[in-house]
Symmetry: C2
């Protein structure tokens, strides 16, 4: 199992960190020793919308080599929704690769054409924009539509991460990770 965490300029740091924490615990807590993961970007450094600078592990790597690709949201999506090179980069949903986005990241999947025939969700304030890309907009916290999974705003990333932990390693592992995260209200729906 190989996971790519996509980061980009003007993303929301917590969108990334909320999914990154539970999924990386699959490895750091010893549940999935063979799991590998990488923070992936198109640039050598990335500055979040709040201003913090991250150095990615890999630049311009082929995302279709991963089993799971995570796409966060943030103000940067306004530019990236028009960026054909970026959208082509993240368009890797297939039998082999699951793409999971949250918050404004769902709109990136929409702009990439991945939601055309799929049910999807996003941040409550972005539902109108999501409706441009799919006729099946959901208010659920997480929508699992085959190789494309979407989730709600910002903190929904924690629920998305835990949901993916359960999908990968089962509910007992998810519960142990949730407890270690001191997270009281897992909300997958």
């Amino acid at each position: 199992m190989k996971i790519a965490f996509v980061v980009y300029n003007n993303m929301t740091l917590l969108d990334f960190a909320g999914v990154y924490d539970p999924l990386t615990r699959l490895k750091t807590m010893g549940f999935c020793p063979d799991l590998t993961y990488a923070v992936c970007a198109r640039t050598d450094q990335v500055r979040s919308s709040e201003g913090v600078v991250l150095v990615p592990d890999r630049v311009m790597t082929d995302l279709s080599c991963f089993d799971l690709v995570i796409i966060p949201g943030g103000d940067g999506i306004k530019e990236l929704m028009q960026d054909r090179v970026f959208l082509a980069w993240i368009t890797v949903a297939s039998e082999r690769t699951t793409v999971a986005a949250l918050c404004g990241g769902s709109l990136l999947l929409g702009a990439a054409g991945l939601l055309r025939t799929r049910k999807a969700t996003t941040h409550p304030a972005l539902m109108d924009i999501l409706a441009r890309f799919t006729q099946d907009v959901s208010g659920d916290r997480i929508v699992d539509a085959g190789p494309v999974i979407t989730a709600g705003g910002v903190t929904a990333g924690i629920d998305l991460g835990l949901y993916l932990c359960e999908k990968i390693a089962g509910s007992t592992v998810r519960e142990k990770i949730q407890m270690q995260m001191d997270y009281r209200h897992y909300s997958p729906a």
Copy 2:
């Protein structure tokens, strides 16, 4: 209002990001235009316990110049609890400066001697170690003890950040930030 977010090697990224998100929204959402903040470290780069690399805004800056200093937790505390230079650096609680820690960060405040006469909390799995530093260990999610505030594990950082938002700008602002974060279960207690 000046806020310092302390980061260090082998901290838990979500400990930092969970507090960073709501507090920076005080500025980015326009509630506190004069607020400034900086990510502060003792090294030019910081690698979280999960492996992601951050570049701090300021290195070895004087933390007593800030009104609020945030200390996250993570595996790195094992080393830092013995590091007198680091502990002296973060020992800035005063009439002027509030220090707020969560998760293992509370143990750093303990090792720095800041909890000797104060009630405090930490990650549920770290309560025994916290008891070495204070006779007043609490199981609450957040404990506000004057210039020293402590919180529970990992995701308690989101509650701590929202609690501090309310303390700084009132409950209406906190509610707006919480809504923008799509956070359903604010748990300050």
